[in-house]
């Protein structure tokens, strides 16, 4: 694995809450352009790992490097800057319902530009408004640019959340069960879109999912946790149904 190509490096990561050890010495690396599915049953430590990867939760031990930056050694401000390289998509879209779709997308740029002009699309620079509209077009929703986020369906909201993540021009997208709150059809559409955009833009994608079908279809590598330990780290092509079944026993 070439060092220059590494986007994410998780090394010997452990996380405990009180006496409960949720992650136990998890190590893996992610190369540029990879699409990785993270599997595991409820309570296996997936969400904790997700939060630790962006240092939203501080690990008990071990380190995380994103694009060669060791998150544990960064100051608060430097950590905020470093996070701008990571786009997030959550289980729930986490849009501000009372603001317009375009304002929500432009907020993605707040990671690198704290200007008050970015608070509301009406005051944002023209170039950014146009970029937000182009991203909205990419996720197939240019026609709803004038709507409030609260007026959108679950699937549309999640697409807008994807556009917001792309607005950051991230090197890595972390998606925590992005289809969990959607119906099967909307879920598949969102996953298809996310995978395609990540591949087209050359963005590395790590997504947590309970949907084995999505994991097999939209990844080229599968990681799996069981009781806080990394038990599978294999190419999607090589993985067998039996191996996946053992995760849910």
């Amino acid at each position: 694995m070439s060092k220059d190509n590494l986007v994410l490096n998780v090394s010997n990561l452990s996380k405990s809450f009180g006496d409960t050890e949720v992650l136990k010495g998890v190590s893996f690396s992610v190369e540029k352009g990879e699409a990785i599915a993270l599997l595991g049953h409820n309570g296996s430590g997936k969400s904790t790992l997700f939060n630790c990867m962006a240092y939203l939760l501080e690990p008990t031990s071990g380190f995380i490097r994103v694009s060669e930056l060791d998150f544990s050694k960064l100051s608060k401000k430097a950590l905020r800057n470093a996070r701008s390289k990571i786009g997030f998509i959550f289980q729930k879209h986490n849009l501000v319902n009372r603001l317009g779709v375009l304002s929500n997308i432009i907020h993605g740029k707040l990671s690198t530009d704290p200007s008050p002009r970015l608070w509301f699309q009406k005051f944002a620079p023209s170039a950014l408004r146009l970029k937000a509209l182009n991203l909205l077009e990419k996720v197939g929703l240019a026609h709803i640019a004038g709507k409030l986020a609260g007026q959108l369906s679950g699937g549309q909201s999640q697409r807008v959340a994807i556009a917001r993540a792309l607005m950051q021009e991230p090197e890595l997208i972390l998606a925590d069960e992005p289809t969990a709150s959607l119906d099967p059809q909307a879920g598949t559409e969102v996953m298809e879109l996310l995978y395609k955009l990540a591949q087209d833009e050359g963005i590395t994608l790590v997504f947590v999912t309970h949907n084995v079908e999505h994991a097999l279809k939209y990844s080229n590598r599968i990681l799996a946790l069981k009781a806080g330990e990394l038990v599978i780290d294999k190419s999607t092509k090589e993985i067998t149904k039996e191996e996946i079944d053992t995760l849910y026993e």
Partner: protein, 268 residues
């Protein structure tokens, strides 16, 4: 039915728990005693009916001869309420950010802001009015300052609660990408809390209009002064005109604020 699970059921309400009984008895005694202490008697209400009838007869028909003066006092009353409320809202906004558990930058500022808001809220507006009449003198300024302090107490608390009740999802999303505290506040917290903020502001205006009438009774300006003068001079027909004017003002303010509130909610 599986009876072996019976012991696993959570406990029922147990009235006879010995340590509760004295508490129940004290509460019952206090309620009964309160009724007797306030000298509430059906006969005294019945006996005062002729005086009530006499009073109402003197109220009607209302005397509109000083309507110009009543209207200008009424407008001044509304202006006292409006200016006091606007100042109160502006000052309570930053205080409420510090008084909100989720937004306060540190615990010291949180407790300080909470203490200020509690002090302003718990001291009745009439006491504040007397304080300002004594310190800044008779007139509208005392009324404005009273309404302002009362609004800080009211809005400070409800704004802080609105900030605390905001959906944490969008805040988490902006924090995650490295957006600063101010950006998160302006882009996620305030827009999400906006309906509650507008609601509380409109309620405080309604409350201020009602308060500003009473404040005039202690010399804090407005129509209360007119009402007190009319009552002191036993000009009950003139007092009826003033009461009618106050009623119309309060009704208009409530209707308009209810309409504005509806419009704001529609947008959401």
């Amino acid at each position: 039915m599986n009876n072996s699970n019976f012991s696993k059921l959570p406990p029922r309400f147990n009235f006879s728990k010995s340590y509760y009984v004295p508490i129940y008895l004290v509460i019952i005694y206090f309620v009964v005693k309160s009724f007797s202490q306030v000298e509430l008697s059906f006969s005294s209400i019945i006996n005062s009916l002729p005086e009530m009838k006499q009073f109402f007869q003197e109220l009607f028909p209302p005397d509109f001869s000083r309507i110009d003066s009543v209207i200008s006092s009424l407008i001044l009353t509304f202006q006292i309420a409006l200016v006091g409320t606007i100042l109160g809202i502006f000052i309570s906004f930053p205080i409420s950010i510090f008084a909100s558990r989720t937004q306060s930058p540190n615990k010291f500022l949180y407790f300080l802001a909470r203490a200020v808001v509690s002090l302003f809220r718990t001291v009745p507006d009439l006491i504040w009015a007397i304080f300002f009449v004594v310190t800044v003198g008779l007139g509208p300024i005392a009324g404005v300052l009273t309404i302002m302090v009362d609004t800080i107490g009211f809005c400070g608390r409800f704004f802080a609660e609105a900030f605390e009740e905001v959906d944490p999802g969008p805040v988490k999303a902006l924090n995650a990408i490295g957006a600063g505290k101010l950006s998160t506040l302006m882009c996620a917290v305030i827009p999400s809390a906006l309906p509650s903020l507008v609601n509380s502001s409109l309620f405080s205006l309604e409350k201020a209009v009602r308060s500003s009438v009473v404040l005039g009774l202690v010399g804090a300006g407005g129509i209360g002064v007119e009402l007190k003068t009319a009552m002191d001079m036993f000009r009950f027909d003139e007092a009826a005109t003033i009461i009618l004017a106050i009623f119309i003002l309060v009704l208009i303010v409530e209707r308009v604020s209810s309409w504005v509130r509806g419009k704001i909610m529609e947008v959401g």
